[in-house]
């Protein structure tokens, strides 16, 4: 008999995933007590990138929505800090979830319009949409206008240690949350729909999955997440300008991390993230060279192995850290 043997998988390996996640969470939670400021700052950045990469992976790798415009929501999350914390005086830690909610809220009507563009057009469309947000922020003088604004004042009352620790903990929540969240999502009823969507849209439509609805939810969720991370990034930078907040460079880095690591896998973006920070560390002295190296590497991956580095590792050694594939047993 043929049966989808998900039950058996659920019983064994997820325990390992849960154990690993708990150990990672425990290490991250304790880090502010023993790690130095520099380590924490790099850590925040890494975890933010991990979250953004994993969210883009959900969008492009599973939802089939290749977006070059997620910087719009990084910007909206950042400017939510300016508006609610700096201008309206709310706690910046409250402005973070507000920014995430706002991002998700504007993502919905945006998706209505963007989904009129198919495939490659959608990608450029999202980029144009992000440019619109950049120009809106640049023209909004109350939020600092084109030259940007400093929001240091919002953090003055908060003790520096707590500032660093809180930023790190939130980043940890976002980073691990994105990984575990995507893992849980893919193993849920929704996961089956997403995997079907990734493999063949017409087939999943025929199987009764509303492709449009799934895509809308994926887009809204990934955008809300990007809004949260965007807020966090500028909570640590404390200064934002439209050009920096809504920059295509965010997309460039996210896309390279996911593509090189392995699109459509959970492990890929983690690997890509580690690789990105290593390369940046060692090649930073060569100026723009590391971006050129990254671009060439991404092209190479697309030309040779679509599964990226993790895809290679998985096919060579059969390792799978996050078992989400359903197996068909004959």
């Amino acid at each position: 008999m043929t049966a989808i043997r998900q039950g058996a998988l659920k019983a064994s390996r997820p325990d390992r995933v849960a154990t690993l996640s708990l150990i990672a969470a425990a290490i991250l939670a304790s880090m502010p007590f023993w790690a130095g400021s520099d380590t924490l700052r790099t850590g925040v950045e890494m975890l933010c990138f991990l979250a953004l990469a994993q969210l883009w992976n959900l969008l492009a790798g599973y939802g089939g929505l290749v977006s070059f415009g997620q910087q719009a929501f990084i910007g909206i999350g950042g400017y939510a800090l300016v508006l609610f914390a700096y201008r309206l005086g709310l706690s910046p830690y409250l402005a973070l979830p507000i920014g995430a909610a706002l991002s998700a809220l504007v993502a919905w009507p945006m998706s209505r319009l963007l989904f009129r563009l198919n495939g490659a057009y959608f990608a450029v469309g999202t980029w144009i949409m992000a440019e619109c947000w950049r120009l809106i922020f640049a023209n909004w003088s109350w939020l600092g206008g084109g030259s940007g604004i400093s929001i240091t004042a919002t953090m003055r009352a908060i003790d520096p240690w707590w500032r660093e620790a809180l930023a790190f903990w939130i980043a940890g929540l976002a980073g691990i949350g994105a990984v575990v969240g995507l893992y849980a999502l893919l193993r849920s009823r929704w996961g089956l729909a997403l995997t079907a969507l990734r493999d063949s849209e017409p087939a999943s439509e025929a199987a009764g999955i509303s492709v449009r609805r799934v895509k809308t939810w994926v887009y809204v969720a990934a955008s809300g997440g990007a809004g949260l991370v965007g807020g966090l990034i500028f909570l640590t930078k404390l200064r934002l300008s439209p050009d920096a907040a809504v920059s295509i460079n965010w997309s460039v880095m996210i896309v390279f991390i996911v593509v090189i690591g392995g699109i459509g896998t959970i492990e890929g973006p983690i690997l890509g993230c580690i690789l990105y920070f290593l390369l940046r560390e060692y090649l930073a002295d060569f100026g723009a060279a590391y971006m050129i190296a990254f671009g060439a590497l991404a092209i190479l991956v697309m030309l040779t192995t679509r599964g990226g580095l993790w895809g290679e590792i998985r096919s060579r050694w059969g390792i799978e850290l996050f078992p989400v594939r359903r197996r068909l047993d004959g």
Binding site: V66, A120, I128, E131, V259, I292, G295, I299
Partner: protein
């Protein structure tokens, strides 16, 4: 009133420039179903190539076209043959991400070689002279030349597509890349030729762009977005649609700039989004779905 006419005139002229930039994008999509995300960066690259010709050979920027156009055509042939042909298929992701990677490589490469300084291709008196149309109303010779060139290029390409054997083969490969091979055409060669043609037009657009405006290595992406908007507004039915799309975009931006200099580009984007909302298939839609 005079102000208004002047604004509209400037918008139309700007539209000619956008149309010229959009032709290559429209062509690559029409034949290969491919969106070249590095489109704008290749246009900027052409401007830098012209700059090299000017400084090393002492050429006038328009004379530099003799070098830049064939060089860019060869680059286009190579990019398609060596990279993009391997990614052509039902899945749009590889081609999209390969050109995205190219975009980053070109930008950073130009940054390394030419620094972030703004450049301009000095065309002598060409950009200063104008045609007086009446009291207080004038239009520069250079924008007029650009517009005329856009019309000429589009008319030439339309004739090529409608009447020549190569144009027929381009349409056929776009319809059915498998069967066209049985007609004796190597589809990979046809794709590369189409890309070479697109790059030749991009070279012209890039040189004229460099004469008309200051540019730096980061100027590629905005040109891609404007070209893309012109193509979508026009509706991909024909290259004349792309011209119409470019003019509409140019008008929107010119009117926006007149309202408030900060809103010009945003007005253009807004008109693009508006057309997407009310007429998603563009003004001159393709009558037949491929």
């Amino acid at each position: 009133m005079l102000n208004l006419i002047d604004t509209l005139l400037q918008g139309v002229m700007l539209g000619g420039q956008y149309a010229l930039m959009a032709v290559g994008l429209s062509l690559a999509f029409g034949v290969m179903r491919l969106v070249n995300v590095a489109h704008g960066d290749f246009i900027v690259l052409a401007a830098y190539l012209a700059l090299i010709c000017m400084t090393t050979l002492g050429l006038h920027p328009l004379a530099a076209l003799i070098v830049v156009v064939p060089v860019m055509a060869i680059v286009g042939y190579g990019v398609q043959r060596l990279l993009l042909n391997r990614a052509v298929g039902r899945d749009i992701m590889p081609a999209l991400l390969i050109t995205f990677g190219l975009s980053v490589i070109i930008q950073n490469g130009l940054l390394e070689v030419f620094s972030a300084d703004s450049r301009r291709l000095d065309a002598g008196g060409l950009t200063a002279a104008g045609l007086r149309l009446g009291d207080g109303l004038a239009v520069g010779w250079f924008p007029l030349i650009t517009f005329g060139l856009a019309v000429a290029v589009i008319a030439g390409l339309e004739a090529l597509f409608a009447r020549s054997a190569l144009g027929r083969a381009f349409r056929a490969v776009s319809d059915d890349q498998e069967i066209v091979q049985l007609m004796g055409y190597d589809n990979r060669h046809l794709y590369a030729l189409a890309m070479a043609l697109a790059f030749a037009v991009m070279a012209v657009a890039g040189v004229l762009f460099g004469i008309g405006t200051v540019f730096d290595p980061a100027f590629g992406p905005p040109q891609l977005l404007f070209a893309f908007e012109a193509v979508i507004i026009g509706g991909m039915g024909s290259l004349w649609g792309t011209l119409a799309g470019g003019v509409i975009l140019g008008l929107a931006q010119a009117i926006g700039f007149r309202v408030d200099p900060g809103w010009g580009i945003l007005f253009g984007h807004a008109v693009f989004l508006l057309i997407l909302a009310v007429q998603p298939r563009g003004l001159i839609p393709k009558t037949r779905d491929a």
